[in-house]
């Protein structure tokens, strides 16, 4: 069942089309990567999903029903990229205050805050203030505050920036945990290695439009360039063939690109016929990073501002 369905969403600002006709759907319990270069329209898209902005056109369905910010906002946890908390307020009170705004009763809020503080070893923070925390500690707190009210949909914008590997892992594990318990997670970033590791499903937006949509494996298949790495005992001298072209050599292996109309078996056949010892043979799938660069390349990273005529 889809927790979120976005249909033909549009949001135009005075100088640009921030989100230009984007549709996608999101399965319950999945971890979803929302990718795109800076200024692609990710934040605007998220702000519409969280009810901060009203879309100019298009519809959002949340949990099977039409999205109603007043009622549904409490079921969403959002950690914006521009994050912050009240600097002068005690941390415990702040967490309770923010989760009460998300619809928890005071008692429930206190109980949840205590549980999470124990889980993240933050018990001693209750009476401290934000100004006493380091940036990474603040980040951790912000994550806890985002998920405190047990939201069905959690939206994390660059959740790992500024975290050391230990704390990043802690939060990563928690993300898996929450997904397993049935929460759906939207993960907005331009750090591709994290997406590859965590996400089930990705979409890539650029200049307000959706360019890529699919599972991580599917997208990789879609963008594969029929590259294989073949490892040998020793590098063969003669490797001219109709079936493939050699793109590079690496130590004792060749990187080959299979020409159209041929398969990997043709490559193997060619080398076997020459009686060359093959040690390994594997397909090279593009990394998301490569795909990202390939798709986005050629378009200026920061979008140009141009007045809308339409």
């Amino acid at each position: 069942m889809n927790i979120l369905e976005v249909k033909n969403l549009k949001k135009y600002f005075a100088t640009q089309k921030a989100v230009d006709d984007i549709s996608f759907s999101l399965q319950k319990g999945s971890i979803f990567g929302l990718l795109g270069p800076n200024g692609a329209g990710k934040t605007t898209l998220i702000r519409m999903i969280t009810g901060i902005f009203y879309p100019d056109e298009g519809e959002i369905f949340f949990d099977g029903k039409k999205f109603h910010p007043d009622d549904d906002a409490v079921k969403i946890g959002y950690m914006p990229e521009e994050r912050g908390l009240y600097r002068k307020m005690k941390i415990g009170e702040q967490a309770v205050f923010l989760s009460r705004l998300k619809g928890l009763t005071k008692e429930h809020a206190i109980q949840n805050v205590k549980e999470w503080f124990v889980k993240f070893e933050m018990q001693s923070w209750w009476n401290k203030k934000i100004e006493d925390l380091s940036k990474g500690m603040g980040q951790k707190l912000q994550f806890v505050i985002t998920v405190l009210h047990e939201p069905k949909l959690i939206i994390l914008d660059e959740p790992f920036s500024g975290l050391d590997p230990v704390n990043a892992n802690l939060i990563k594990d928690e993300i898996y945990n929450l997904a397993q318990k049935g929460a759906t997670i939207i993960f907005s970033t331009h750090r591709m290695e994290q997406v590859e590791e965590i996400c089930d499903h990705i979409i890539l937006v650029n200049k307000g439009k959706k360019i890529v949509d699919g599972s991580v494996a599917g997208v990789k298949q879609q963008f594969k360039e029929d590259l294989f790495e073949v490892g040998f005992d020793k590098i063969p001298e003669n490797h001219a063939s109709q079936a493939f072209e050699v793109i590079g050599t690496k130590d004792k292996s060749l990187i080959v690109k299979i020409n159209e109309g041929y398969t990997s078996n043709n490559v193997l056949q060619f080398f076997i016929q020459q009686n060359i010892g093959i040690v390994s043979f594997s397909e090279i799938l593009p990394s998301l990073n490569d795909i990202f660069i390939k798709v986005v390349e050629g378009t200026p990273l920061a979008r140009q501002f141009q007045p809308l005529t339409a």
Partner: protein, 443 residues
């Protein structure tokens, strides 16, 4: 609704528990009391005694300059000159040449250190009265008799009262009571709108610079956020006011218990000995208090208290939402905040200035219109009401003014809400007033 309550509670509690709130609430009345005590102290224990030698060539002034035990002592000695006064232990020497009606000579007051204006003025006035005495004597008048005639006022012989005749009834006019109530309430409203309006603005700026705004608007509507803050701060303001009133009552009753009757008399004496000074005016005002308390009896308290609460809240709501809007569009820059809030502080200051004149003429055209327009009505109307409803302020004016103020704050909070919604999430460049109005009026 529930969310607004949670925000109000948070805004209130975090502010009331803040150290600066506690300090300012307790310190202000104490500072005020110390200030008043200081004024009284310096009035009774005047700074320094000055002994002045008088070198009176003609002898006309001898023994006619009265020494003031707390301030100036005159010693007559013709041997003291400008060259030897300090060697003889005098602070100054007053050299009076022979009086000559044909030629204007110079009376010299020579000292090593600056004597200060009060002492100079005192010497001058003593010279003047000695001179008068001499001239009266020449013309065969008795100066004391003339003085007592000159000081006679109508109230020594008659009672004087101003009456207003309205619908056949004659009412005693109580200008000073009305003035006192009107000025005080106008002043309080002025201070509230300024201080707490600014507090709202800073609160919003804080939310924006701390980047909590986006976290907040993902749970509550920006408008709820704004209203919660405004009402929360209003509650803080009321708390502070109540505490000040209680503290001032406590301190003043403690002060009257500790201050002896003698000290109070000394104050009175001191004020009489310093003509033209501010203290004397204050003394004058205290003598009016008896008139005041008498006149208070005829005041419609219920109406005034109701109107005060109405204009106090209305004025605060009218301006604070605009202050919130300004806070939402500025970034960290304090100067930016100042320049953008100027269009808001200007009308507040201006209405206060208008009040200082309109309170003397509560029925003038300026007063009437300024008390109807919502930008200035909270202060001006409140300064007019004590002069009498429906006497000075007809019912239609009061009704129109109230209706416009309600409409006004509904409009400003709607307008501010629109600007706030966009501004709070906007970082970087400072928007112009034109852009802000565009946000406000788009759908």
């Amino acid at each position: 609704m529930n969310k607004i309550l949670i925000i109000i509670q948070k805004e209130y509690l975090t502010r009331v528990r803040n150290k600066t709130f506690i300090i300012s609430t307790f310190l202000l009345p104490v500072v005020l009391a110390l200030f008043i005590a200081g004024v009284i102290y310096f009035a009774t224990h005047s700074s320094e005694k000055t002994t002045i030698a008088v070198n009176d060539v003609s002898g006309d002034f001898a023994n006619n300059l009265k020494s003031d035990s707390s301030q100036v002592t005159f010693v007559y000695d013709k041997n003291i000159t400008a060259d030897n006064f300090s060697a003889n232990g005098y602070k100054a020497v007053l050299i009076i040449p022979k009086y000559d009606s044909a030629h204007k000579d110079t009376v010299r007051l020579v000292s090593e250190k600056e004597l200060g204006l009060p002492t100079q003025e005192y010497v001058k006035s003593q010279l003047g009265s000695a001179l008068q005495k001499k001239l009266f004597k020449e013309k065969k008048f008795d100066k004391d008799a003339v003085d007592s005639i000159l000081q006679t006022s109508v109230t020594d012989v008659y009672e004087f009262n101003a009456y207003k005749q309205k619908e056949g009834k004659i009412q005693q006019s109580n200008f000073w009571a009305a003035y006192g109530i009107g000025f005080t309430s106008g002043m309080i409203i002025y201070i509230t709108m300024m201080i707490y309006g600014m507090m709202v603005m800073r609160g919003v700026m804080e939310e924006k610079t701390n980047r909590i705004a986006e976290v907040m608007v993902s749970s509550v509507k920006p408008f709820q956020m704004m209203i919660g803050k405004i009402v929360g701060i209003a509650a803080v303001g009321l708390t502070q006011f109540l505490m000040w009133i209680v503290l001032i009552l406590v301190i003043s009753s403690a002060a009257t218990a500790f201050l002896s009757h003698d000290a109070l008399q000394q104050v009175q004496q001191a004020t009489h000995n310093m003509p033209n000074s501010g203290v004397a005016q204050a003394g004058d005002a205290t003598s009016k208090i008896s008139e005041f308390t008498h006149a208070f009896a005829g005041t419609k308290w219920i109406l005034i208290v109701f109107c005060f609460i109405f204009y106090f809240t209305g004025g605060y709501l009218f301006y604070s939402s605009l202050f919130a809007a300004v806070g939402s569009v500025v970034n960290e820059d304090i100067q930016e905040a100042q320049s953008l809030s100027l269009p808001l502080t200007m009308p507040i200051v201006l209405s206060f200035v208008i009040m200082t004149t309109s309170i003397y003429a509560p029925s003038s055209n300026l007063s009437v219109w300024a008390s109807i327009i919502p930008f200035s009505s909270p202060i001006i109307m409140m300064s007019r009401i004590p002069f009498g409803v429906p006497g000075t302020v007809p019912w239609w004016q009061l009704g129109l003014s109230m209706a416009l103020l309600i409409a006004g704050f509904l409009f400003t909070s709607w307008l501010a809400g629109k600007i706030y919604r966009t501004g709070i999430l906007l970082y970087g460049k400072k928007p112009t007033w034109k852009e802000m109005l565009k946000w406000a009026f788009r759908k």
